[in-house]
């Protein structure tokens, strides 16, 4: 598993207009590297869901993307309020989003389950008042 390249993006807090720009950039890079279409779509969806979460819940953060020959590892770190009950947060339909976030098209409580569904390996760690980290791995041959 040799590393092809690493990309790092700063995701702004509450910058809803720019949300998704990092995921779009990663998608473009994966296309340029000729990865399979299905793999690119899975990676894009997983990262976009995570990026949106960072914007609307996490107070912004950093997205580090490690691209290998046969997989991509997406590490999303925020310094937001953290998640008190990860098991509950992973349930489809559970959301702490406000009405104003729902009016923007998010907060269905599908984000984290969607990320897990698209991933081959998914780790989430969180500490209240300190932040949340997601490590998403997607293999190109799965």
């Amino acid at each position: 598993m040799s590393q092809v390249l690493t990309q790092k993006y700063v995701v702004g807090a509450d910058d809803f207009a720019a949300a998704g720009a990092a995921s779009a950039a990663v998608k473009k890079t994966l296309k340029q590297l000729n990865f399979p279409v299905d793999f690119i779509r899975r990676a894009s969806i997983a990262m976009y869901e995570g990026e949106i979460n960072m914007v609307i819940h996490g107070g912004g953060g950093v997205a580090s993307v490690e691209i290998y020959e046969d997989c991509v590892k997406i590490i999303l770190t925020d310094k937001g309020p953290g998640i008190p009950d990860i098991e509950q947060a992973m349930q489809e339909g559970y959301s702490t989003a406000t009405d104003s976030i729902r009016e923007l098209g998010f907060g269905a409580g599908m984000g984290l389950p969607n990320i897990k569904k698209q991933s081959d390996d998914f780790e989430i760690t969180s500490e209240v008042d300190k932040g949340t980290t997601l490590i998403i791995t997607i293999n190109s041959n799965s």
Binding site: G20, A24, R41, I45, Y48, G105, M110
Partner: protein, 116 residues
């Protein structure tokens, strides 16, 4: 179903510059919540939504969706149109409701596809 047929079935108007060409749509999904739409697994799909901000275009981009239809007479905002033109995603608008739009497309032969 070709995009020009979608346009006809929904009595829709095109809001963007990307040409319809011969783009073939294999399935459609309808939602105002983008995470619901992101669970839609079908490639070459169509997104129907009442969400008229740029995130519906970002969602379509991530999912390789070529066309977004704004239902219920929604008008796209300028940022949405700009991003859609940049990404070469076709945006249409129709006065029909979500329910009627989906029903008309389904009746015309466009299925709902699979949920991943």
């Amino acid at each position: 179903m070709k995009l020009d047929q979608v346009l006809e079935v929904l009595e829709a108007q095109i809001c963007t510059d990307a040409p319809l060409n011969d783009i073939e749509i294999l399935a459609a999904c309808g939602s105002d919540l983008m995470s619901d739409a992101l669970a839609f697994g079908e490639n070459k799909g169509l997104l129907l939504t009442g969400l008229n901000n740029p995130q519906c275009i970002r969602t379509a981009e991530m999912m390789d969706i070529h066309c977004v239809v704004l239902v219920r007479g929604k008008e796209p905002d300028d940022a949405l149109v700009t991003l859609a033109n940049e990404k070469e995603i076709v945006v249409m608008r129709t006065d029909f409701s979500m329910y009627t739009s989906c029903g008309r497309l389904y009746e015309a032969g466009l299925s709902g596809g699979d949920i991943s």
